[in-house]
Symmetry: C2
Subunit: 108 residues, 2 copies
């Protein structure tokens, strides 16, 4: 696949507000699936499906710890993605746009 198609596919993935928000938040720290489930107003399977797409494209890494799965950003060598993410508001601003001041701890 040539470069253009690869970039277009990456951007299509970022062109969803939930996934873009996830990646924005992941710039600050890693997040547990259960936190995302609390944050977003969509079902747990919907969260899981978004994360799978991001993982399949290699944009996030998962790390299983006991019952919980944590996701972290994995965009080394994708400068076009990094550039977009750097332009996003910071985590605090992103969170307040969800009308969530914080997340109650749901994992260790």
């Amino acid at each position: 696949m040539d470069k253009l198609n690869e970039v277009a596919d990456d951007l299509k993935l970022l062109g969803d507000k939930t996934r873009l928000m996830m990646l924005g938040l992941l710039q600050e720290r890693e997040w547990c699936v259960c936190e995302f489930v609390e944050l977003f107003e969509i079902s747990q399977p919907a969260i899981s499906q978004h994360l799978r797409k991001l993982k399949d494209k290699g944009m996030v890494k998962e790390s299983k710890r006991g019952q919980w799965v944590h996701y972290s950003l994995n965009v080394e060598g994708k400068p076009h993605i990094t550039a977009v993410l750097h332009g996003l508001p910071d985590s605090h601003t992103l969170l307040s746009s969800l009308n969530k001041t914080g997340v109650t701890a749901c994992c260790d």
Copy 2:
């Protein structure tokens, strides 16, 4: 609409290989609709619809000259878009990925 939604919508627009290619080519110079019709292997209405979406989002400007309509890039003040476009291959490389060495003149 908040910043995140605006960026997500912009990226969704760029997440199509035809539109991304158009914007990539428009970095070098302005292009006439008739040239795009020659370049891409889709119908003239399909070209027109892509350009309308780009225009509606304010990413391109149109300039009518006689029978022809020329489009030019209009991404000032959209650093996240500019960053993505700068990462694309140059026009010559983009064109060769379409298996077109050049475009025969179709307008003045």
